[in-house]
Amino acid sequence: MTQYLLKRGGQSLVLLLLVSLIGFGILYLSPGGPLSQLAQSSNMAQEDIDRLTRSMGLDRPFLIQYADWLLRMVRGDWGASYRDGIGVLATIGSHIGATLSLMAVSTVIAALLGGVIGIWGAVRRHSLMDALSSVGAMIALSIPTFWFGLMAIYLFSIKLGWLPAGNQQTFGDGSFLDLAHHMIAPVMVLALVETAVWARFMRSSMIETLEQDYIRTARAKGVGGRAIIVSHALRNALLPMITLVGLQFPTLLGGALITETVFSWPGMGRLFFDSLEYRDYPVVMGILMLSAIMVMLGSLLADVLYAIADPRIRMD
């Protein structure tokens, strides 16, 4: 296991280096710059723009800028936002909680709900409920997240007035209940697609498991239907789902970006979108690297958990 982890760690480092080089290169080559929008809105003269460009080091050659950024990043200095001068890690830190809370709550709900729907579909294959859940899942996977978001706002905020149309809190309030109230709609939207994914995977996995010889043997020995599912099939059917947690991370992050924009949720996805728009290179690079690290860790974690859950799997 140790050897495996070291090998994967080495591969990850190379991959991270490539991600950073490509990311930095794309940003460097993209036209415009951090000062262009500002220059337009505040009527800054070319002289002022040139002066600021020099003082920010943006006039230096690509390799110098990249090497400078990389060396500092390795030392733990991820730079500071061009927009407000706050350190990149602090900037990301102030947003990541909002995103992770959305993702975590959505994942838990999606896993529970999707799991139950998937198991139900597998056990009662070809029943009306199975057909309905399959069609529902296909619809949820096909319709864009932002549309669900807009519909949720239209229905629950504008028509019924039950939920706020956005934001993370009512200003002046700061209670958990207020946070939960604001969280319902975005979690609902984010969890909807996730539930569909979990339901589809769970159903396939369960069907595959239920067709295994040892299940047939158990049935032949007279074990009851519920006991077969809970004691025998579920544990094995859950194995492939472990990888889903890690592999779904990028999709979930992408979904969170859209959900955050629709609901004015101050998370990392929206920060990334804003930073790209304003060409805030240090923050864009920071989020890119952090996301890459998280995806790699998620994938590694899935592999390790898989090995722990199924001793037949060897890590070499």
Partner: protein, 548 residues
């Protein structure tokens, strides 16, 4: 004729009307009730761009300035009626009160006593000196140094009095100072590097509200300053809520989570619906931004004045204003907003006359080719037009322009780009052919346009201004120089009227309309007043309060 002599009467007039927009409707909410005896309540202001710069001397946008007006004070400001009103200064300097020398070179400013910074320390003339010195410090990332760079020999005479000399007379400096916020020497002066000082994220000012908290990417909270030197504030706190999507911004206003929707305004497509909402006030607000088609005169065909005139004759302005903006924008022939004291209302009116446009191009030797597009000396009369991708109304406008100009044998293609791309070198270094843009041409609120139309201000030719049109005209250069040295208001009017005539006559740009945005407030919120002399209608939040 250059007037260096300044009469007392002239200077009083100038001080009272610098940057005035006399005719613009001010949507002041007349006092439905008196302000509360004690501050109460809060206002959530919804904005579509995030304020991120809190040192008011550093490069910031209009949304940043909306926050600066709450945290900081200027020596004087220009109110919605165009009056120059003393704030940190005891009075606005003029020849009459001895604050200005007759030649405009010596300035003596007396300060209001008893003003304190948010941390309780007294505000003094040393802070004013520090502010002006910091702007001119080469190591400091100042937003711009127009006017400030002419300041010499700053002398702190007393805690409440400061003098300086100008290297040369520069009339717009009065207006520049009306938007120059003072910063504290005792905090920023002690920082190792003012560019990265912690102060820039926890600003201390003398304004009506104090820094409360910021949640990056979400909102900024400002709390009332109980020791504010002026009247107000009447609110306990103000929250600037950032919502990047304009549809969401409107939705949150509609569902009551936002009390004031400003700066970006309501999209024209939502205006009719918004007007039917209960308990809100919808206000069309004229801005100093002039929507125009910028032509790069360095691009072959546009060097021919006949082409520019034909394009203008071929443009159906009215259809665009009516069809896309529900008739809201004000058609204009000038770069100066209507109602400004320098506005020239005698400029020739535009007419949509495709027949005359075709005749003009025929006479200039542009003959229709086999595909209907005109050609001269082997060059097709075809060009690209660019604007910010995703700016829905402008993109529709481009479609109309394409059709208009196709009728006179001119081909326009659309090449839109993201804001960060188009307003970078593409615009600044005149790499475009034509662009649809809304610009505020005023210097503060002064009509000086040296940076825009002087032949020394072309960045593509090594200049340091904003003349991306690449316009050159010796008469214009001479008039611009006169305008910044002249203190006689009538004479200045004459100069800037002539400058507008030249810009209109030469069609340096094709003027379309003065931008009008639709802002909205809840009906019970009193005190909102649009001010064309300020970059943000949040300028007077100190006077806002809830009725009842």
């Amino acid at each position: 004729m250059i007037h260096h002599k300044l009469s007392k009467r002239d200077f009083l007039k100038l001080s009272a009307s610098a940057g005035t927009l006399l005719a613009a409707p001010a949507w002041a909410q007349q006092g439905a009730s008196a302000p509360p005896a004690a501050p109460r309540g809060q206002v959530v202001a919804g904005i579509s761009q995030e304020p991120t710069v809190f040192n008011p001397l550093m490069p910031g946008s209009e949304v940043d300035q909306g926050v600066w007006w709450q945290l900081f004070s200027t020596l004087w400001f220009i109110d919605a009626q165009g009056n120059t009103v003393a704030d940190l200064a005891r009075e606005v300097p003029s020849v009459a009160n001895g604050g200005l020398s007759a030649d405009g070179l010596v300035w003596k400013v007396k300060l209001k006593p008893g003003v304190t910074w948010h941390d309780g320390k007294p505000f003094t003339a040393r802070d004013v000196k520090y502010t002006l010195d910091l702007i001119n410090n080469p190591a400091f990332r100042a937003r711009n140094r127009v006017g400030h760079s002419l300041v010499r020999d700053i002398t702190v005479v007393a805690d409440d009095e400061i003098h300086w000399r100008m290297e040369s007379s520069f009339t717009p400096y009065m207006s520049v100072l009306s938007q120059t916020f003072m910063v504290p020497e005792h905090i920023l002066g002690a920082a190792a590097d003012p560019n990265t000082a912690p102060y820039n994220q926890a600003p201390v000012g003398t304004g009506p509200f104090r820094w409360g908290a910021r949640r990056a990417g979400d909102h900024i909270q400002l709390d009332r300053n109980p020791a504010y030197h002026g009247q107000g504030p009447y609110l306990l706190r103000v929250i600037f809520k950032y919502i990047p999507d304009q549809t969401m911004l409107y939705t949150q206003f509609r569902s009551g989570q936002i009390d004031y929707l400003g700066l970006s305004g309501i999209q024209p497509s939502f205006e009719q619906e918004a007007a039917k909402l209960r308990g809100v006030r919808i206000m069309p607000v004229p801005t100093p931004f002039i929507e125009h088609v910028a032509l790069n005169l360095g691009f072959g065909p546009f060097a021919d004045k006949s082409v520019r005139e034909a394009l203008y004759l071929g443009m159906n302005k009215e259809a665009r204003i009516q069809a896309i903006y529900q008739g809201r924008p004000l058609p204009t022939e000038s770069y100066v907003p209507k109602g400004h004291w320098a506005y020239n209302d005698a400029l020739p009116a535009h007419r949509h006359d495709p027949k005359a446009a075709r005749a003009l191009l025929d006479a200039a030797g542009w003959v229709p080719g086999s595909d209907g597009i005109r050609v001269k000396n082997g060059q097709r009369l075809a060009f690209s037009n660019s604007t910010t991708a995703g700016a829905q109304a402008r993109e529709q406008s481009q479609q109309l322009l394409m059709q208009d100009w196709r009728q006179i044998g001119v081909e326009m293609t659309i090449e839109n780009m993201p804001a960060a791309v188009i307003w970078g070198n593409f615009w600044q270094k005149s790499q475009y052919q034509s662009v649809m843009v809304a610009s505020n041409f005023l210097q503060g609120s002064d009509p000086d346009v040296t940076a825009r139309f002087s032949s020394a201000s072309i960045p593509a030719k090594g200049g340091s201004g904003l003349n991306t049109y690449q316009y050159q005209n010796p008469e214009m250069d001479q008039l611009l120089a006169q305008g910044t040295r002249e203190f006689n208001l009538d004479e200045r009017k004459r100069i800037y009227h002539r400058i507008q005539e030249i810009v209109r006559g030469d069609l340096v740009l094709l003027p379309v309309s003065q931008t009008v945005i639709i802002e909205a407030v809840k009906e019970k919120l009193v005190g909102y007043e649009n001010n064309i002399n300020s970059s943000s209608n949040c300028w007077n939040m100190r006077s806002w309060y809830w009725a009842g």
